[in-house]
């Protein structure tokens, strides 16, 4: 009976750990990426600063909404999927922006070298 009880509690413990990791460090990282990614897609507003300042100011709210969803969604798998999609989308946006910036820097550095050849 002890073995049966132990075996039965293992998936429960595993789920608890999974939920804890999801609502803990994963949630924080995803919220941070959503905040940072918002600089690229949020509207700038009349002073051209909203896309920077508003996500920083609302970071606790971003985290809290995500935390409660990831903690309370009965389907753990679905919660993981939502977190993963948010992570990939925002990380992708940020990565794409880095690539664009680096490419622009390289072409800017290359342009003066092209001129003397004329």
């Amino acid at each position: 009976m002890t073995t049966a009880v132990t075996n039965a509690s293992k998936p429960g413990k595993g789920r608890a750990w999974s939920r804890g990791i999801l609502a803990g460090p994963v949630c924080f990282i995803v919220a941070a990426l959503v905040m940072a990614g918002a600089a690229l897609w949020a509207p700038e507003g009349p002073a051209h600063i909203n896309n920077i300042v508003v996500p920083i100011a609302l970071f606790p709210a971003i985290w809290a909404v995500l935390f409660f969803y990831l903690m309370l969604d009965k389907k753990l798998g679905r919660a993981w999927m939502v977190a993963t999609v948010l992570l990939l989308v925002n990380a992708g946006l940020i990565g794409q922006n880095f690539y664009k910036v680096e490419a622009a820097k390289k072409s800017h550095a290359a342009a003066p070298q092209a001129e003397p050849a004329r």
Binding site: A47, I56, P60
Partner: protein, 527 residues
């Protein structure tokens, strides 16, 4: 209040309980020190008063003082200058440049403390900004409490990240507490004090938590914003939007940077600029920032204190070389925006410094309530589990932190006054005294078995420390009440009286025995 299913309520209650249990003791420390830090300005006035009281920049004389200061420092430190009325009215003037220390951006320069009446130099400190603050004696006591609150005296960014996480824990506890409490309004006035310890503890926590709910939410939200903004949010946004250049981010977000012109130019009259600010705003200039002093592109930014009936002040821009008014602008950006509105609201909502003493008293009372909620929550948790020996350690730790932390904090002002008399470094002595008092209370907490006796010992010692403070302040060279009254130093007298009252209350509370839960006496509560 809100109908939730039984299983949902159970989940939310578990989140509420575990977030409090895991982080509650540290959260209590942050809230308690924050409550004290509300009066940071008054703490400096009390511990390091000048002979006369003032908290405003003088109407004349700053221009001459500024020119004298700039002539006495390396011109590289003319890059950025700021000044404002700081500890007990001393004008703190920092001439500096932005540099890099161990790869991280850090200011380096020369800082002066000026007498607000005579503009005489009271102190001169030189070096990196962090090192300078370590030798700022007038601010030493206030800074101790503020730093403990902001980062638990841990190095950046870890301290800030930790306090940020604690703020989020408080946010979670406030939201879940609101959701699970089905009879929020109905039980608003019910505080049962019966033999049932569990019931008493439950009511104490629930009533305090319910009343304090709006402010718990506001303080948790704004507190975690402040921690995370500097710990990682600003660097992260700088990385994404400005290639890692934090200075560029700040310049862009603050708005209206001057067009670069390195031609040397005489600086305009700052007294005239401040007089113009007073006339335009109807309030006092608070913080004055000068960029590129001595150049044609010098710019002066003046932030004012809030006008009567307003939560936030205004910001004015002047051309540094001609003293000509450029524009009034929001704190961030050059035109009004949602970003600016959110940014400027964070400080008054968190610090409670928008209406002088009135708002500070209110914030102090609410902070105290917040600390009470946190501690009673942990005690409720351990009382519910009094028949589980493992949780008794947490109960003991709650008593140690709950009553030991105030004792350790009360020991710090005693060190502040004794250190200069003994020729010791003030900051270092404060830190070691705090650690020693905390260790002493830990030893007492380990030795004394009965929790009521532990409470009485720690509370009694705190009371004695509080009662000693005014006497020690005076004996170590501080003004007596008559001199304080003559100099208009009302804060000195008020603080002394408040400490005497608080000390007396602590000592009187020692006589009261609190009912303790024991396993056989524990009643099982219906779900």
């Amino acid at each position: 209040m809100i109908e939730l299913s039984k299983s949902r309520t159970k989940e939310l209650l578990a989140i509420h309980g575990w977030s409090g249990v895991l982080l509650g003791l540290l959260l209590y420390a942050v809230i308690l020190t924050g409550t004290i830090a509300v009066f940071a300005e008054q703490i400096s006035e009390w511990s390091s008063p000048l002979s006369h009281a003032t908290d405003k920049l003088p109407e004349k004389g700053i221009d001459a003082a500024l020119r004298k200061a700039t002539s006495e420092v390396d011109p590289e430190f003319h890059e950025d200058i700021f000044f404002f009325s700081d500890a007990a009215g001393r004008i703190r003037m920092f001439l500096h440049k932005d540099d890099k220390k161990d790869g991280k951006p850090e200011a380096r320069g020369v800082e002066f403390d000026l007498d607000p009446k005579t503009l005489a130099v009271l102190d001169r400190r030189e070096g990196w900004a962090d090192d300078i603050s370590e030798i700022n004696v007038p601010k030493a006591l206030a800074d101790f409490f503020v730093e403990l609150h902001v980062s638990l005296h841990l190095p950046d960014p870890w301290g800030l990240l930790l306090t940020g996480v604690l703020g989020l824990a408080m946010l979670v506890a406030a939201v879940t507490g609101f959701l699970v409490h089905r009879h929020l309004i109905r039980e608003l006035f019910t505080l049962r004090r019966k033999k049932d310890v569990l019931l008493t503890r439950r009511d104490a926590h629930v009533v305090a938590g319910t009343w304090n709910l709006p402010f718990s939410f506001i303080l948790a939200f704004t507190g975690s914003y402040f921690s995370f903004a500097s710990a990682f949010a600003i660097p992260a946004m700088a990385m994404v939007a400005f290639g890692g250049d934090q200075e560029k981010l700040i310049e862009t977000v603050v708005g209206a940077p001057a067009v670069e012109n390195k031609t040397a130019a005489a600086f305009g009259n700052i007294d005239a600029m401040l007089a113009d600010v007073r006339a335009r705003s109807g309030s006092e200039p608070g913080f004055v920032s000068i960029s590129h002093y001595g150049r044609a592109d010098a710019q002066v930014t003046v932030s004012t204190s809030p006008r009567e009936g307003k939560l936030v002040g205004q910001t004015y821009l002047y051309k540094g070389d001609t003293a000509a008014f450029i524009q009034q602008k929001p704190a961030l950006g050059v035109v009004p925006s949602l970003g600016n509105d959110l940014f400027v609201l964070m400080a008054p909502l968190h610090f409670g410094n928008f209406a002088g003493l009135w708002s500070k008293v209110a914030w102090f009372a609410l902070g105290f309530a917040g600390a009470y909620v946190t501690l009673t929550g942990i005690l409720l948790w351990t009382t519910r589990r009094v028949d589980q020996p493992g949780w008794s350690k947490l109960a003991r730790a709650a008593y140690w932190m709950g009553y030991g932390l105030p004792l350790a904090l009360a020991a710090v002002p005693l060190a502040r006054f004794i250190a200069p008399v003994l020729g010791l470094n003030v900051h270092g002595t404060q830190n070691w005294t705090f650690i020693a008092a905390a260790l002493l209370s830990s030893v007492v907490a380990l030795i004394v078995r009965d929790l009521n006796t532990l409470r009485r010992l720690l509370l009694g010692a705190t009371g004695v420390a509080l009662l000693l403070m005014p006497l020690l302040r005076w004996l170590c060279g501080g003004p007596g009440w008559i001199a304080a009254f003559d100099g208009g130093l009302v804060t000195v007298i008020a603080f002394d009286l408040a400490l005497l009252v608080a000390g007396a209350l602590c000592v009187m509370s020692v006589r009261r025995a609190l009912p303790m839960a024991t396993a056989p006496a524990l009643k099982v509560q219906p779900a």
